[in-house]
């Protein structure tokens, strides 16, 4: 049986390859952060967040990918262009899939990460569904909040902490 090809870091210079239009390079982007057009979709939501390192510094060269299995939407955004180094996605809020609470799959890449990380984004206004979600229930109760995006007047806020007391739960998928 052939062995899996090992992962290597996405590095600091992924922008013109993976997110060229976002960063202003003259090459067509395949994948962006507008998974639906907010003008056409009254139910569109905006998800924003920062990625923090182990001493609480905002990481300006992370790449976040988002997968919505229900609507078959895939998005990608680097944290290097927003004035506050946030990731920003315009998408639909998914419904329940496979008996699970509404959620999005999130993949995190960055310089200094030799292999990517998987996490999930749940929604704070789905408390009842979250209570019975099989994946959230695998997570120690005190860490579940790291997976739940908070509803705000502007959409949903989902910060990712690589380390520390608030370290985000990452999954072996």
């Amino acid at each position: 049986m052939p062995l899996q090809t090992p992962s290597q870091t996405v590095g600091p210079y992924f922008a013109y390859g993976l997110t060229p239009e976002q960063y202003g390079y003259y090459f067509k982007s395949l994948i962006g952060n507008q998974l639906v057009n907010p003008l056409d979709e009254p139910n569109a939501i905006t998800i924003t967040g920062n990625v923090f390192d182990g001493v609480g510094v905002i990481i300006p060269d992370a790449l976040i990918e988002l997968w919505d299995a229900q609507n078959k939407h895939f998005g990608r955004f680097g944290t290097g262009t927003d004035s506050q180094n946030r990731f920003v996605f315009h998408t639909l809020k998914p419904g329940s899939v496979d008996g699970q609470a509404p959620h999005l799959s999130v993949i995190v890449f960055m310089r200094g990460q030799p292999i990517h990380s998987y996490t999930r984004l749940y929604f704070s206004d789905e408390a009842a569904a979250n209570e019975s979600d099989p994946v959230l229930n695998l997570v120690p109760a005190e860490r579940r909040q790291t997976l739940i995006a908070k509803k705000t007047s502007a959409g949903y806020l989902f910060d990712i902490y690589m380390q520390g007391e608030q370290e985000t739960v990452f999954f072996e998928v």
């Binding site: 290597q8 899939v97 030799p114 380390q163 999954f171």
Partner: protein, 235 residues
């Protein structure tokens, strides 16, 4: 019908999150154990890309960004196969490519290395594998470049790749190196890979695809996570 479950990352060949010699891993590596979850439709349904996503010159980095001439440097052809751990080819899957130019300079705006930008080379492209899992593209051999990890640190020549495979469990971002590169034994990114996995990241010179008077060929195969179902299972 049995569920297709994808194997986990083989941690005997993948680099760990924390690799202190590669300094930026220290504050960015998750410190708590990963929580193992059962794969569900969320993990197993995509994304899927196709022909409509790839432009006519996307597979030729020597031509897809020319302004006033040809890019400088050594033309090369990189080809190979994308398969899963069971050896089955993965057809029509997307491969994204990015790299430095022949002088070791990335066009990325934060790259401050004092080497020339090539106006005719952006250094990015993409291909789909064919029905048999093969891919092939043209580019310029990337140069080595210095980085700030430690005194006199240089990255070996390498090309970055992003692959999807059938779903998000098979996602892979990696780097391909060149045979005989003397910088490999000093590179903490490459050396972060356990010894069992290192050779898998080094391409092979391939005379069979080398084009006379035009370009050298290299072969590099990708193996993505496979499934637990075996075709030879007996009842």
């Amino acid at each position: 019908m049995s569920e297709l479950i994808y194997n986990h990352f083989d941690r005997e060949v993948h680099p760990p999150y924390l690799s202190p010699e590669y300094k930026s891993t220290v504050l960015r590596a998750p410190s708590k154990p990963l929580v193992v979850i059962k794969q569900s439709l969320s993990e197993l349904t995509g994304p899927v890309f196709g022909e409509t996503h790839v432009g006519p010159l996307d597979h030729d980095l020597t031509r897809n960004s020319v302004r006033n001439g040809e890019p400088l440097g050594e033309r090369i052809i990189v080809h190979g196969k994308v398969m899963d751990e069971n050896g089955r080819p993965i057809p029509h899957t997307l491969i994204e490519i990015w790299q430095a130019n022949s002088a070791g300079r990335y066009v990325h705006k934060v790259d401050q290395h004092d080497a020339p930008i090539d106006p005719n080379f952006l250094g990015t492209g993409r291909v789909l594998t064919d029905a048999d899992g093969h891919y092939r593209f043209y580019t310029i051999k990337p140069g080595a470049y210095p980085w700030g990890n430690h005194y006199n640190a240089w990255r070996p020549n390498h090309i970055h790749f992003s692959l999807f495979g059938p779903n998000i469990t098979t996602r892979l971002v990696t780097q391909m190196y060149f045979p005989g590169d003397p910088l490999l034994e000093y590179d903490p990114v490459f050396l972060g890979v356990p010894p069992k996995g290192r050779q898998l990241l080094i391409s092979q010179f391939d005379l069979s695809v080398t084009e006379p008077h035009f370009a050298l060929g290299y072969r590099f195969d990708f193996v993505l996570r496979g499934t637990n179902s075996t075709p030879f299972e007996t009842a």
